[in-house]
Amino acid sequence: MTLVLGALAVGAIYAIVAIGYNIVFISSKTFNFAQAQLMMVGAFVAYSGLVSWNLPWVVVLLIAGAIVAVVAGLEERIAVRPVRDPHNILVTTLGVSILLDGAAQLIWGTQPLTVPFVAGDRAINVLGGRAYPVELALIGLACLLVALIVLFTRRTKYGMALLAIAEDREAAQLRGINVRALAFAAFVASGLLAGFVGLFVGPATFAVSTLGASLALKGFVALAIGGFGSFPGALVGGIVVGLVEVGAARYLGGDFVHLMIFALLLLVLMLRPAGLFARAKERMV
C-alpha cells in the first residue's frame, strides 16, 4: 500500500502537468513545451520563500502563483502570439523551456534543494500503508483540480467559451468570444496553477533544474494516455505513469524506470493514438 500511495502521489504530479498542457491546448491548440518548467520555477520560488526568506506559506503561495503567472503571460505575449506558424510555436515554447532551465541553473544552482512542506514531513498511517502528508496532498489536489475544471467548463460561461474555441476557433470568434483574450487568460491560469503547485511538487521531488525536462516528458506520457484535451484522462494517465514508474523502480531497478515509461508511451501511440478518453476526429479539408 505504501508503494501504491507513493505511485499515486508521483502520478498526481504528472497529472497536474498534463492538466496544464490541456488548459493551454484547449484554448489555443498550442502545445506549451514550457509547462513543466513553469512548475519547476514554482518549486524554486517556494524554496526561496520558505527557506531563504522564511515567509509564511500563504504568502509564498501567493508570490509563487503571481511570479509564475507573470512568466506564463510573458511567454504567451513573446513566444506564442507573434508566431504565425504552429510548427514554429513548438520551437519557441521549447526555447522558453530551455531558457527557464538555464535561468534556474544560474539563479538556484545545479544542486537539488529540499523544499519543506507545510504540513510537516512525518509519515502517517493511511489505509494500511505509510505516506507523507505531501503525497496525500498531491493526490487530493489533482483530483480536486480535475473536478473543479470539469465543473468550470460545464457550468460557467467562460468554461463553455473555452470548449467552443476548442471545437471551432472561427465559429467561436463569430459568436463574439474573444479568442485571443481567452488564450492569454488560459496561459496565465496555467502559470498561476503551476506556481501554486510548486509548493506541493517541490517537497515531493526536490527543486532541481533538471526537474522540468523529466516532468515535461512524463506529463506528456500522461497526456498521451488520457487523450489530448481530456482532464479526467490526464488524471488517469498520470496515475498509470506513476504506477509504472514506481513498479519499475521496485521490481526492475532504477535504470529501467524511464525505459518502461518510454515503452508505455510507444505502446499507447501504437494502439490508441488518440488516447483513452478522446475521440478521433475525421480529417477536414
Binding site: 508566431v83 510548427h87 521549447l94
Partner: protein, 618 residues
C-alpha cells in the same frame, strides 16, 4: 550596382551546387594550410555538428516534424563504432556503415509511433530518447563503460592503415561533403518538393498522391543517417566516449544551430553549426550560460527570423538578381496542344455520410463519364464539398460505394485515391509557400512516374529523363491555362484567379482519370472565366472526366453535359441544362425563385438560358 547585378546574374546562371562544392573541397585542405591544433579541432567538431544539424533539417525543415532525438542517434552511432573498435573491427568504412544502420533503426523505432498522432508526439518521443541515454548506457555498463566512459577503442583504420592527425581530418571532411551531396540531391528533386508540399499542406500532399506518414517517416529516418555517421566520426576522434557528450544541452545546441541557419535549407546547417561551435565555445563561461544562450537563440530566431539566416540570404540574393524572365518563344515551341487524356468513369452509388446527427449526404447517386462535363450544383451546405471529399477519400462514407473505372475507391486512403487517377482543385487554392509556380505544377506529377530516392541521390539517367518530362509537361500545362509567364514567380504571390488556374495546371500534368474542380471560377474576372470555360471544354473533349462544383450558374449552363442538383444532402434533380433550368425545385431551392409568382424572377433564369444558348462568346 548594375555591374554587381550583372555579376550576380552570371553567378545565378551557374549550377547552384558549384559554389558549395568548391567550398567543401577547400575544407579538405584546411589542415595543410592551418597548423593550429585548436582551430583544427573546432573545425572537426563543427563538421560533426553540421552532419547532425543537416539530419535535423531534413525532418524539421522539410518534413515539418520537430525531432529532438538527433543526439540519441548520434550516441547510437558512436557507441556502435566504439564497440566495433573495441572488438577489433577498426575499419572506419565498416564502422560508418554499421553506425548509419543503427541510427536508422533508432529512427524507425521512434518514428513509427511518434508520427502517428500529431506534431508534438514525435518531438516528445524523440526527446525521451535523450533522457533514456544515460540509463541505457548504464544498463549495459559492462560493454559501454557506463558513466566512466568507453576507453577501450583502437585507432581507426582505412584499408588496413591507421588513420590519424591530418588524415583523419580529411576523412571527416570527405564524409561530411558526401552527405551534403546526398542531402542536396534529395532536396533538389521531386522528393524535396514533395516534402515541402507535405509540410505546408498535408491535404494537398495526399491529393497529389503522397503518403503523409510514409514520407515523414522517410525524412525522419533518413535524417538519422548523418547523425549515425557523425557518431562514428566522433568516436574515432578521441577514441573515448562518455555519456556527457550526448547531453540534453548538446541536443538543444543542434536545434539552435538548425534554427539559426535556417531549417528549410541545405547549407544553412553549415552556417548554423559554425556559428554555434565557434561563437559559443569561445565564450569562457559557455557551460554556465549555454542553456540560456541556446534558449534565447530558439526564441529570438523563432519569433523574428522564422526561416533563419538562409531565408534572409535567399531573399537578398533574389533582390540582387532581380526577376527572371520567361522565354515565351521557347515555351510556345514546347506546346503541342492538349494530348489525349484517358478519362475514367466515376460511379457514386447510394453514398451516405453523417457527422454526428447531421446527415450531410443521403443516398447520393452520381455518374460522371469520360469526355463529358458533369456539374454539381446546390445551395451552400447542400453537401457538394462533402461529396468531393468523400470521393477523394478524405471522408469515409457510412454506406454506399464509389468506383473509378473498375476500381472501388471508397475504402482507400486519400493518397491511394489520388494514385488511382483522381485529381482536384480546392475551394481555397491550396498552394505551398516557398516554391515557384513551375515547381508547384511539377508537384502534381508526383504520382505519374516514380523515381526512387536512390535514383535521385545518384542522379541516375532515369532521374534526368523524368525530370525533363516533368518540366516539359509543366510548361505545356502552364501555357494551356495561360499563365506561363509567371512560371518563375513565387506561387503564393499570384492573384486569386491565377492561383486557381495554377491548380488546374497542377491537375492537368497528371493526365488525370478524373478531374474535380471545386468552385474553380469564383474570384476570376470575366476574361479568365471565358478562358477557363474554353479550357474545361477542351479538357473534356480530350477525353477527361470532369466533375465541376460551381456556383457560377451561367458557366454551368454553358459547359455541363449533365447537371446534378443537391439539396440537404440528397439529389434533388438531374438532367441536361435545359431540364435543370426549368426544374421548379431547383428554382426555389437553389435560386430562391418562387415558380408560383413567376414572370418577374423566373425570367432572369430564362434570360440566362437563352444567353448561353445563343451565346455571345461561343
Amino acid at each position: 550596382m548594375d555591374s554587381l547585378r550583372a555579376l550576380a546574374r552570371r553567378v545565378d546562371a551557374l549550377p547552384l551546387w558549384v559554389l558549395p562544392l568548391a567550398l567543401g573541397v577547400a575544407v579538405i585542405f584546411v589542415p595543410q594550410a592551418l597548423g593550429d591544433y585548436s582551430i583544427q579541432r573546432q573545425m572537426q567538431l563543427s563538421l560533426i555538428l553540421c552532419l547532425l544539424v543537416s539530419g535535423l533539417n531534413l525532418s524539421l525543415g522539410y518534413a515539418g516534424e520537430l525531432a529532438l532525438g538527433q543526439v540519441a542517434m548520434f550516441a547510437g552511432g558512436a557507441y556502435a563504432a566504439g564497440l566495433l573498435s573495441t572488438y577489433g573491427h577498426t575499419d572506419i568504412v565498416l564502422q560508418l556503415l554499421v553506425a548509419g544502420l543503427v541510427a536508422v533503426a533508432v529512427g524507425i523505432i521512434t518514428g513509427v509511433p511518434g508520427l502517428r498522432l500529431n506534431s508534438w508526439s514525435l518531438a516528445m518521443t524523440s526527446f525521451f530518447l535523450v533522457l533514456l541515454l544515460p540509463d541505457v548506457i548504464s544498463i549495459f555498463k559492462e560493454e559501454t563503460g557506463g558513466r566512466n566512459g568507453l576507453v577501450t577503442m583502437h585507432r581507426g583504420t582505412l584499408l588496413g592503415e591507421p588513420v590519424k592527425g591530418d588524415a583523419y581530418f580529411v576523412v571527416i571532411a570527405v564524409v561530411t561533403l558526401l552527405w551534403f551531396v546526398v542531402m542536396r540531391n534529395i532536396i533538389v528533386s521531386r522528393h524535396g518538393t514533395a516534402l515541402r508540399v507535405l509540410k505546408q499542406s498535408p491535404v494537398l500532399a495526399q491529393s497529389v498522391g503522397i503518403s503523409v506518414f510514409r514520407m515523414k517517416l522517410l525524412a525522419y529516418a533518413l535524417g538519422s543517417v548523418p547523425a549515425g555517421l557523425a557518431g562514428a566520426l566522433f568516436a574515432n576522434l578521441d577514441l573515448f566516449l562518455s555519456p556527457e557528450a550526448f547531453s540534453f544541452t548538446y541536443a538543444t545546441t543542434i536545434l539552435a544551430a538548425s534554427i539559426v541557419g535556417g531549417s528549410a535549407s541545405v547549407y544553412g546547417a553549415v552556417v548554423g553549426a559554425v556559428i554555434l561551435q565557434f561563437g559559443l565555445n569561445q565564450s569562457s563561461d559557455y557551460t554556465r550560460y549555454s542553456l540560456v544562450i541556446t534558449g534565447s537563440f530558439l526564441l529570438i530566431c523563432g519569433v523574428l527570423l522564422p526561416g533563419g539566416l538562409a531565408s534572409l540570404a535567399r531573399a537578398g540574393w533574389r533582390r540582387l538578381v532581380g526577376r527572371r524572365e520567361v522565354d515565351m518563344a521557347a515555351v510556345r515551341a514546347l506546346s503541342t496542344g492538349l494530348p489525349k487524356i484517358a478519362g475514367q468513369s466515376l460511379r457514386v452509388e447510394q453514398v451516405t455520410k453523417s457527422f454526428g446527427g447531421n446527415r450531410a449526404l443521403a443516398e447520393v447517386d452520381l455518374e460522371a463519364r469520360p469526355g463529358r462535363v458533369t456539374a454539381l450544383i446546390g445551395p451552400n451546405g447542400s453537401g457538394k464539398t462533402t461529396l468531393l471529399n468523400v470521393v477523394c477519400g478524405f471522408y469515409r462514407p457510412d454506406a454506399g460505394a464509389i468506383h473509378l473505372g473498375n476500381v472501388r475507391i471508397d475504402r482507400m486512403a486519400p493518397h491511394r485515391v489520388a494514385r488511382a487517377g483522381v485529381t482536384r482543385t480546392f475551394q481555397t487554392p491550396n498552394i505551398p509557400p516557398g516554391i515557384t509556380v513551375l515547381e508547384a505544377v511539377i508537384a502534381g506529377r508526383y504520382m505519374t512516374r516514380r523515381v526512387s530516392m536512390i535514383e535521385a541521390v545518384l542522379r541516375l539517367p532515369r532521374f534526368w529523363r523524368v525530370r525533363r518530362e516533368d518540366e516539359v509537361e509543366a510548361w505545356r500545362a502552364l501555357d494551356l491555362v495561360g499563365i506561363a509567364e509567371t512560371a518563375y514567380l513565387e506561387a503564393t504571390s499570384l492573384p486569386l484567379g491565377q492561383r486557381r488556374l495554377l491548380e488546374v495546371a497542377r491537375c492537368l500534368v497528371a493526365r488525370p482519370g478524373l478531374l474535380l474542380l471545386d468552385e474553380v471560377a469564383s474570384g476570376l474576372d470575366e476574361d479568365e472565366v471565358a478562358r477557363l470555360r474554353g479550357l474545361i471544354r477542351r479538357v473534356a473533349d480530350a477525353g477527361a472526366t470532369v466533375l465541376l462544383v460551381e456556383h457560377n450558374f451561367q458557366l454551368v449552363l454553358d459547359l455541363a453535359d449533365e447537371i446534378v442538383a443537391l439539396a440537404h444532402g440528397s439529389v434533388m434533380a438531374r438532367g441536361t441544362p435545359e431540364q435543370i433550368a426549368n426544374d421548379p425545385r431547383v428554382l426555389s431551392e437553389y435560386l430562391g425563385v418562387e415558380p408560383s409568382r413567376d414572370d418577374g424572377e423566373a425570367s432572369v433564369l430564362s434570360r440566362l438560358m437563352s444567353d448561353s444558348i445563343t451565346g455571345g462568346d461561343k
